[in-house]
Amino acid sequence: MSKRIEDLTVTENHRLAEGFFVVKVSSSAGLPEILPGQFVQVLVTESPSTFLRRPISVHDVDYLSNTISLLIQVAGAGTERLSRLRNGETINLIYPLGNAFTLPVLGDKVLLAGGGCGMAPLLFLGRKIKESGIEPQFALGFRNRSRILEHEQFRDLGTVHLATEDGSEGHRGFITDIPAFRESKWDRVYCCGPEPMMKAVAALCLERDIFCEVSLENLMACGMGICLCCIVPTTSGNLCSCTDGPVFNIRDLKWQTSE
């Protein structure tokens, strides 16, 4: 799949919650094919401490308006700048990058599990799965009620199960504590979120022999497979998270031990 470098125009910047924003950017050239799980490399301007591009997952794609949505969580200076993007500003992207989630086959029972900005790739993935004729379910985890992100669009695609660590909304605990997660027989689980969440989901899926793919957020310098900084130890050696990933089947991962 061919990648490109392009200036896109910001058409919307919507604040979801404290520190979370959805930024929509539109391509005047028309969008290329983008697969769920892929990401973009954003050039961050006007941020003196941001030297490299920043990898951000494709949150959603709208081919009618040639618009990509990005769900941005403010983590530092780079994402802080992105959170302040104004309509009409242009941002330069290299995209689409990375592999993609393996889509389920008809009849599969599918769970999309995530939390925080890890929800980002799951919306587009859910949409693609829904389009393929399967109704996905979602398990979304948050710290507490006040940290819950808007997820109307997820509800439009399928049932959403919520968990909060303090039980202030939905199930108490982590997403792996949600009864629907533990009790149902899933054919496929797709997960993106903080590392402890992904590890817990992976452990559960391995134990129950469920097909499971996770999307990793390794530190990246290039996003294009030319720097070899973003490696993930796998059963076939060190692979690049930006080209061989960011999506990996948990069976292939020697799970990273660095914090």
């Binding site: 061919s2 990648k3 490109r4 470098i5 050039l43 401490s49 941001t50 030297f51 490299l52 591009r53 290299i94 390794n218 530190l219 990246m220 310098a221 290039c222 996003g223 294009m224 497979g225 030319i226 720097c227 070899l228 900084c229 973003c230 490696i231 993930v232 130890p233 050696g237 060190n238 080209t243 990273q256 660095s258 914090e259």
Partner: protein, 304 residues
């Protein structure tokens, strides 16, 4: 249009701008984004005799106007290169230079011999300056005796254009440039990365798995430029300059300071078109100032 051609030993390049080793993969990764045939050359990934997994994650840290890397020469080894990568590279209408790395002098010799047989590779860049490996690498590039030994040995083993890539982590860069020249190198390229490190004050640990790593990007440009200037005054062979070049003006600074050619490294991660833009800038400057050829401005700061 001015004459952008330059010569590195017997190798003629259509222009003086190359992609630096370790920052452009094998070229293919960038084909969607830039026309590789417009480049002077590409210097492909550091290659070793045996396959290497490189260093553990994390291998990267962003720093002020730069980055640290601790990749550690991850590559599939020369055997894989010959069988699976070389055939594709041989089809490129671009000069492909291979960056060569060993643990021992024997490794370097063996690699040089094998690459000598690859007809579509006109030159090697002898990397005696990788700061991210325990054996070989920078140990050769920071000790004059070892440097001389490995360069002389490779010169014997390799019949085509030999470029020696120097480490900036030395007291006197001219010493290593001179040794390279004396032992028959046709060019020196510099600088490789500066040895640096970063600490995460939250975890109270080093950021890189290897503690130290190689610093690249515009942060190092003033140091790189100074060393290129010194080296170019010390030797007659061409100097290939690099270190923090982000745009055409930066490339011109190196050429005006004495570099016959330049390499673009880290900039490619941020703006893959940097090398192409640099070619355009050099061409425009020559046109504006009525220079016939890029040769006219090499080292011009020493003359005006």
């Amino acid at each position: 249009m001015a004459d952008l051609r330059i010569k590195i030993g017997s190798l003629e390049l259509r222009n003086p701008v190359m992609l630096a080793s370790g920052t452009c993969g094998y070229g293919a990764e960038l084909e969607d984004l830039i026309d590789l045939t417009k480049l002077g050359a590409i210097v492909v990934k550091g290659t070793t005799l045996e396959p290497r997994e490189g260093n553990p994650y994390p291998r990267m840290a962003e720093t002020a106007s730069g980055m640290l890397n601790a990749v550690g020469l991850q590559n599939k080894g020369i055997g894989y290169f010959e069988k699976h990568i070389y055939p594709k590279l041989a089809e490129y209408d671009t000069h492909v230079i291979v960056n060569v790395n060993g643990n021992t002098v024997e490794d370097y010799i063996e690699l040089a011999r094998r690459i000598d047989r690859l007809t579509a590779i006109p030159a090697i860049e002898l990397n005696i300056s990788c700061p991210n490996v325990k054996q070989g690498g920078m140990i050769f590039g920071t000790n004059p005796t070892s440097a001389r030994e490995v360069i002389a040995a490779v010169r014997q083993a390799y019949s085509k254009t030999l470029i020696v890539k120097l480490s900036p982590n030395v007291t006197d860069i001219t010493e290593f440039a001179r040794i390279s020249e004396e032992e028959g190198a046709e060019a020196v390229s510099l600088v490789n990365t500066l040895l640096g490190m970063a600490v995460d004050p939250k975890t109270m640990k080093p950021v890189l798995s290897t503690v130290t790593g190689g610093l690249s990007g515009p942060a190092i440009k003033p140091v790189a430029l100074r060393m290129v200037w010194q080296a170019a005054r010390a030797v007659k062979i061409p100097v290939i300059g690099m270190g923090g070049i982000m745009n055409g003006d930066d490339a011109l600074e190196f050429i005006m300071a004495g570099a016959t050619a330049v390499q673009i490294g880290t900039a490619t991660f941020i703006e893959p078109r940097t090398a192409l833009n640099a070619i355009i800038s050099i061409d425009s400057l020559l046109a504006e100032r009525n220079f016939d050829s890029v040769a006219n401005i090499i080292g011009i700061i020493n003359r005006i």
